[in-house]
Amino acid sequence: MSNMRRMKLTGSYEAPIGTTMYVVNTGDWRYQRPVTIAGKCRKCGLCSLYCPTGSRYEEANAFATDLRYCKGCGICANECGAAAIAMVEEIRT
């Protein structure tokens, strides 16, 4: 259009559609992260059942968090009966 600066278009669709899998990187939303206190974790697995993004997984001595998709909601810390998860402010530069 003659009355506009040129646009830097990245999409090829004219209408709002999708033809491939589009994964939302929910890890970008996080302002706080769960930190497991290893000595307190009883490995009951409740945190992994409640986690809405499936980001809690089992390690040798405790459950840990996949920070690619953890959105920092804190449900795991809230549900943990052993109080083994602390929510720590996420600081990015």
Binding site: M1, M7, L9, T10, G11, Y13, E14, A15, P16, I17, G18, T19, Y22, V24
Partner: protein, 413 residues
């Protein structure tokens, strides 16, 4: 009146059948000849006979389409969205409060880029309670992304609906189109209409075959996924770009239709006795007919006045108006609507914006008229032309005159 006189030498198809039909029947014929396969509508005055005529065509086996009888206008357009996504050509129509109820799917139709064609049988909006003419309904939704074409007579209704599909489905456009015709003045008044032969329309208008958005299990796509702002901005830009491209396509389709059927309409706007005129009127819709008679009478009195019949309100022909009105001494706009916040009519405000860079800025005067079925008469036009002459001669004339409820000359207190 436009379109009703045909130069048989100038066209490539044989003349169609002549009928004397009202505007709703002309719209029904325009739709029928375009071969839609899904229709859905809810009756509302003054569009109701259009629904009845379409239902009759389907019931009599003259139109091979599904007519979905819905419970509201919201459902009517929603049904057509699904049908259009499945690849169907679709048609509906509504008026006034029905259009208001339809607003949610209305804006989604354009932003999903579905080339649905819908008649708006223009009617005043309530309150006060009214079922009569006015263009406030269609004008109010002008910025919902549709193409809007306003027409003057019943022949233009029929022809414009056929052209609307060719514009809407053009691969550079892919936008829905409203053909807006005046309730009662056209919808319920019979006029001579030439109905083209089906095979001639078929040669002009190819079947709809979408690929940009379609629900098809063989080529699956998700429609309208949650879209973050940076990607949404691209879709908005492309939508605006399609509106810009539509200016060219509307002109091309009109030119092609005129060449084949012998009835060109001027595309974005019709110029009537304009080129050698120093005064200009701008009209929208059926009142253009009365305006042309008034222009002829003024010409006979020696007043050099011409007319622009604005056909496309969206896309708005900014550059074309600028070019057509360059050098005019005074310009009058007739608005069958109001722009509440500007205290003028909508077309006036938009013409002002389009002409803001004209050198030697000529006086622009607005005439609000014909609301709620009030007639816009020959006498009103004589008064408008007289005020235009006064403005052109340097006298101060009010920016806005409400024709019909203003003081007559000599009556002022």
């Amino acid at each position: 009146m436009s379109g009703t006189t045909t130069d048989d030498e100038a066209r490539v198809v044989r003349p169609g059948r002549i009928a004397v039909i009202d505007g709703n029947m002309a719209a029904a014929w325009g739709a029928k000849l375009s071969r839609p396969t899904v229709l859905a509508a809810y009756p509302i005055t003054p569009q109701t006979p259009l629904v009845e005529y379409l239902s009759t065509f389907v019931a009599d086996g003259e139109l091979d389409a599904d007519m979905v009888e819905v419970e509201s206008e919201h459902s009517a357009l929603s049904v057509l969205q699904g049908a259009s996504l499945a690849g169907a050509r679709t048609f509906t129509g509504t008026s006034s409060q029905g259009l208001a109820l339809m607003y949610e799917p209305y804006i989604r139709t354009s932003t999903l880029r579905l080339p649905i064609v819908m008649a708006i049988v223009t009617r005043e909006v309530i309150s006060p309670q009214s079922v009569w003419g006015g263009q406030q309904d269609a004008i109010t939704v002008r910025d919902a992304g549709w193409i809007q074409i306003y027409v003057e007579d019943n022949q233009e209704i029929l022809d414009s609906i056929i052209m609307a599909y060719k514009i809407a489905e053009h691969p550079d456009i892919l936008l829905p189109v409203n053909i807006c015709y005046d309730g009662h003045y056209l919808s319920h008044v019979a006029d001579r209409v030439e109905i083209p032969a089906q095979e001639d329309v078929d040669r002009f208008l190819s079947p709809y075959s979408p690929s940009h958005i379609k629900l098809d299990p063989r080529t699956p796509m998700s429609v309208d996924p949650l879209t973050p702002g940076d990607i949404l901005m691209e879709y908005r830009y492309k939508h605006v770009r399609a509106q810009a491209r539509a200016k060219r396509v509307i002109e091309e389709v009109d030119e092609e239709f005129g060449r084949i059927f012998g009835r060109p309409y001027g595309g974005l706007l019709e110029r009537y006795r304009l080129d050698d005129a120093s005064l200009a009127l701008i009209t929208l819709g059926s009142t253009s007919g009365t305006a042309k008679v008034a222009v002829d009478a003024a010409r006979n009195r020696g007043v050099d006045i011409g007319l622009i019949k604005l056909r496309a309100l969206r896309p708005f022909p900014r550059e074309e108006l600028f070019e057509a009105l360059h050098g005019k001494a005074a310009i009058g706009i007739v608005d069958r609507n109001v722009c509440f916040g500007w205290m003028t009519g909508v077309v006036y405000a938009e013409v002002c914006a389009a002409l803001r860079l004209l050198p030697d800025q000529p006086p622009l005067i607005d005439f609000v008229a014909g609301l709620g079925g009030a007639d816009i008469t020959f006498k009103h036009y004589e008064r408008a032309i007289s005020l235009l002459q006064q403005a052109a001669s340097g006298r101060t004339v009010a920016e806005v005159t409400w024709l019909g409820i203003d003081f007559e000359p000599g009556e002022e207190p």
